[in-house]
Amino acid sequence: MPPVEIKNDVFRAMNFLPEKFVVDFANGIDVARDHIRFQRENDKFLMRILNGFSGKSARRQNEINQSLADGVEGALKWLTELAHSVAKTNYALVKVNERVAVIQKNVIDLAHYSAETRQKLEALSVQLHSRIDQLSHEINRIDITQKAKIQLDHVFDKWGAGRLNHFSPITKCYITLEELYWGNFGDLCRSQIENNQTLAQTMLENLANRLIQQLTKEADTTAQQRVGLSTWTNQHITSEQIATDWIEALNYAGDWAEPDPHPFVFTTTQMPNQLPVFLPRICSAERVAEAMVSEIFERN
């Protein structure tokens, strides 16, 4: 099987998408009912992502469909490949690993799974462990704090350089935060939350401050100046095709958000016709930044 390649523009802007996809894929494997949950629930976009990862040849497409139809067996095959060639971040690997552990346990309980399945799972688990070890080894080598800082600078540079320019300020803010959440910055933050609550708090405050800087620049306001919500949400997408791609990508990226606890992310990614009641109609850069950071970093 040739390694999966990512070409699409959307994924270049949102590096975290494939990571999320792999984790979702792993979480979607339903051992008890022997199928992939997300395939039924989610739309064509996921298939497109999958195709994007797997090249375009029709033969290849059939192969995927075939193996997905095979239920857990086939899915495992895919998960192994995705974990190998798509998942790059520690966070995604850890999440997949957690899921694999659960699957392993479930498979033991269910008699109809073959020894082969168990072996495959074992192999995957070993592979994941070694990747995670490798990464943590690296992390130890290069200071994790340093890495987080590099990532932070990188995503803000990307924003500052205009890479995200056809998005609304709030979408830029969202993408930036998701990148950080999935990446080294997120890793550091999560490890801090376990060890030192106040340090984590400071990290997030600093993050909010950087967001405020960018947002005020975007809207030409001051940090506390209250402006209409549309100042933050107005989009500048031009091309139709890109638009649907982006919309689908955002829909998928923020599919975890719910209107009440995550009004900002929900609005940004799900673009509902009716705005959530907890979403302010007038707000300052500060308000947007603080809400975004807390919705994304304090999600469960």
Binding site: R226, P261, L275, V277, F278, L279, I282, R287
Partner: protein, 789 residues
């Protein structure tokens, strides 16, 4: 702020109302969270339910707030015609004598094509009628009644109405009935004045006491009903009755009105410029800053020789209104044309044709104005008429001022509605947040710790109470010094007046001396008999110490009297101005200081509380209640007016001209103050200076004797009320927090599982709290400056 920004603030307010209502409902659904106990808490079950109701109410008000455009103006300037023009039919009588007796609301009511007048508050008038009925039967009044009936058919009709035991109804349907009602009301005011019975004006002070006419305004037929409920307030002309109650009522209405439309009469502009009207207009402008428009009505009367538009505007803004209004808020219009055009348009839209001009007078008026002298030939040409309507409307120049005044009314009304909502939102959000935070935190604390917190809070409460006491002392001290200041000014005034009288006395004596000498010479040339006849001791002997001055020449005496009169008046007028100024300055200085002190002293108590609680793990939020401030600026001159009017009312029914000195002038004429005219065989005239002196001092004393009481009514009472409200609110907040803690101790009686369940629910709710409190606070911060603007 721009219209669309206000729209945005309104949306945000609506959004917050929804979120808070849903949070409150959620809280009500959580078992064991909100309870009714005998203790002030941030929220009880009952108060949360009430809060939901309040929020629903606010939501409705935001959707459909009342906008009131008060139409004020000089007598017969065309206020009622202007209103008819906006409504598009003749809802208000406009005849050639004062017609509007009581303020009347005309409310745009969608779908109401025939007007209906509602008059819930008819009882005071019916009581008046009962009194009048008795009085009419009184023999002493008989002559007067009879002559009234003879000279005035309207009066006759009214007296018959009263005598046959008719009473006013609650409701009148259709223009004719409304017309009769309003005319009758006006006649009633006149009749009570004629036979000296007080009209119950004081029962007609606020909007809900006035008669209301509901009708669809043609002009607004097409507009969105979500833009608020528009009412026009027709007011009696300022010179109408001049009753102090009316003035007071006017002031209140103007303050409440969302916009004010002042109607001036183009043809009377110069004569309107007398002192009285000017003062009235300027007062209106002061009260209704930034929401005042002036229309210069009857501009159709302008001829080639008349002043041009710019000159008129300048005259009004600079001269008449003393720069209290700018040129771009002044519009020359013809309300009559606007009314005729709008009414014609309305009729045609209803019936496709104009009514028969022989049956309805206005059609003829319309035709003459719109089609010219030879209108009869064109009156049946539909096309021509439609065009003429458009032209007449354009020529009336009514569109722009109408649009502006409605816009202003809309945004002012919206601002007020939003402000009221924002205050409630902030209050509820804080209370929710305090309850949730404390109850959640408390679950993980032991009872002992909670007790300690409660003790702390009790100390805070008594500290707040001390602070209130201090502020109260502060107010009463200021009041004392204010009274002392006013007293000092008064003492000075008296001294000055006495000095003046002394001077005139000396002058009078000089004149008397000269006259005496002249008389002596004349006497020498007269017959003995004449000498004998004219014997009069005081007349003969000039005595500097005799307080009586006598003059043989009437005009000399009158001159002197007039001089004394004028000078004393000037002194008193100055006094009035000085007292007003001193009071104003002292009060605004005091209020600033007072607010600062109040805010900073309580701020530090609250900050300490918040900080201490936070250290102990409790997150609480207490915003300092806002102070609206007592508005002394507008009422300073009115304050004095009221001192006078209340006094004079009991003394004499005469209307006061203006200011204190006007009243004094009246006394000089009406009262026995030492001026006597003796008419015997030979006339001579006496001024008793002692008597003048005494009378004047006692009058000055009596005029200003109401001062202490007035200061108390206008200054210390409202200040104390403001203070009490402020501290009540603050204390209630802190007591609420204490109550939350007490309830938390009760939570400890729940079993572990229930406690844990409550803890989880609280944790979930807590997450939305900071944002809600913050957004509510910000909204209040956004809207507050707009309110005071």
């Amino acid at each position: 702020m721009h219209e669309h920004n206000i729209e945005l603030l309104k949306k945000e307010a609506q959004r917050l109302v929804k979120s808070e209502a849903s949070l409150l409902k959620e809280m009500l659904n959580i078992e064991g969270l909100l309870v009714d106990i005998n203790q002030e808490q941030s929220l009880s079950k009952a108060s949360a339910e009430q809060a939901v109701g309040v929020l629903e109410d606010e939501q409705r008000k935001l959707e459909n707030f009342d906008m009131i455009i008060a139409v004020v103006g000089t007598m017969k300037a065309g206020k009622s015609t202007t209103i008819n023009a906006i409504v598009g039919s003749e809802v208000l009588p406009n005849r050639n004598r004062p017609m509007t007796a009581l303020p009347t609301l005309i409310r745009h009511t969608k779908g109401q094509t025939t007007p209906v007048l509602k008059f819930e508050n008819n009882q005071p008038i019916n009581e008046l009628i009962l009194n009048l009925e008795k009085e009419i039967q009184n023999q002493n009044q008989f002559k007067k009644i009879e002559s009234l009936c003879q000279s005035d058919p309207d009066m006759k009709r009214l007296i018959e109405f009263i005598s046959s035991k008719n009473r006013y109804e609650n409701q009148y349907q259709g223009s004719d009935a409304i017309f009769d009602f309003l005319r009758g009301l006006n006649d009633l005011v006149r009749l009570s004045r004629e036979i000296d019975i007080d009209f119950p004006f004081e029962k007609y002070i606020s909007m809900n006491q006035f008669p209301i006419i509901e009708i669809e305004f043609v002009h607004l037929k097409e507009t969105d009903s979500n833009q608020g409920r528009l009412s026009l307030l027709d007011t009696p002309g300022p010179n109408e009755a001049g009753q102090p109650h009316l003035r007071k009522m006017m002031r209140e209405q103007l303050q409440k009105a969302s916009a004010v439309l002042a109607v001036l009469d183009y043809t009377q502009l110069k004569s309107d410029a007398d002192y009285e009207v000017r003062k009235e207009l300027q007062e209106i402008a002061d009260t209704s800053k930034n929401r005042l428009y002036a229309i210069v009505n009857k501009f159709d009367q302008q001829d080639r020789r008349g002043d041009d538009e710019e000159t008129i505007k300048n005259f009004i803004s600079l001269d008449l209104m003393k720069e209290k209004i700018t040129n771009d808020s002044i519009f020359p219009v013809s309300s009559k044309w606007a009314y005729l055009a709008n009414r014609a348009k309305h009729e045609i839209s209803l019936k496709n044709n104009l009514p028969d001009f022989e049956k309805e007078d206005w059609v003829q008026d319309f035709a003459e104005e719109a089609l010219g002298k030879r209108w009869k030939g064109k009156i049946n040409d539909r096309e021509e008429i439609l065009q003429a309507i458009e032209d007449l409307w354009t020529d009336s120049r009514f569109e722009l001022p109408l649009k502006k005044v409605i816009e202003t009314a809309h945004s002012r009304a919206a601002i007020f509605a939003i402000d009221s909502t924002a205050a409630k939102l902030l209050n509820f959000s804080e209370r929710m947040s305090n309850l949730i935070n404390i109850r959640e935190t408390a679950i993980k604390k032991d009872a002992q710790e909670l007790q300690t917190q409660i003790q702390h809070l009790e100390k805070d409460i008594s500290e707040i109470e001390n602070s209130e006491k201090k502020c109260k002392t502060n107010i009463s001290q200021t009041m004392i010094s204010l009274e002392q200041k006013a007293d000092a000014v008064l003492r000075n005034t008296k001294k000055e007046a006495i000095e003046l009288i002394k001077n005139y006395f000396e002058e009078g004596k000089r004149i008397e001396k000269q006259e005496n000498q002249k008389t002596k010479e004349e006497l020498r040339n007269k017959s003995l008999i004449r000498k004998l006849l004219s014997t009069n001791k005081s007349h003969d002997d000039f005595d500097m110490n005799n307080p009586i001055m006598s003059f043989s020449d009437r005009s000399t005496a009158l001159d002197l009297k007039e001089k004394i009169n004028k000078s004393v008046s000037t002194v008193l007028q100055n006094t009035e101005e000085i007292i007003i100024k001193e009071m104003k300055d002292a009060l605004s200085e005091f209020q600033n200081l007072f607010h600062q002190n109040l805010q900073s002293s309580t701020q530090s108590i609250v900050e300490r509380m918040e900080k201490r609680s936070k250290e102990d793990g409790f997150e609480i939020n207490i915003s300092i209640p806002s102070l609206s401030g007592v508005n002394f600026n507008v009422s300073a001159s009115q304050m004095l007016d009221d001192i006078i009017s209340e006094k004079t009312e009991t003394v004499t029914r005469q209307r006061r001209k203006s200011g204190v000195w006007g009243t004094i002038c009246k006394w000089f004429d009406t009262d026995d103050w030492g001026w006597e005219e003796y008419q015997r065989k030979e006339s001579y005239y006496v001024i008793n200076i002692d008597s003048v002196h005494k009378k004047m001092v006692s009058q000055i004393d009596s005029v200003f004797s109401g001062m202490g009481e007035t200061i108390s009514i206008y200054v210390s009472k409202p200040l104390n009320k403001e203070l009490e409200d402020f501290f009540d609110e603050l204390r209630k907040k802190v007591e609420g927090i204490r109550g939350n803690l007490l309830q938390s101790i009760t939570d400890k009686n729940l079993n572990k599982m229930k406690q844990e369940a409550l803890f989880l629910e609280l944790g979930r709710l807590r997450k939305s709290m900071p944002a809600i409190v913050k957004d509510s606070k910000s909204l209040k911060g956004d809207i507050e400056p707009l309110v005071t603007q």
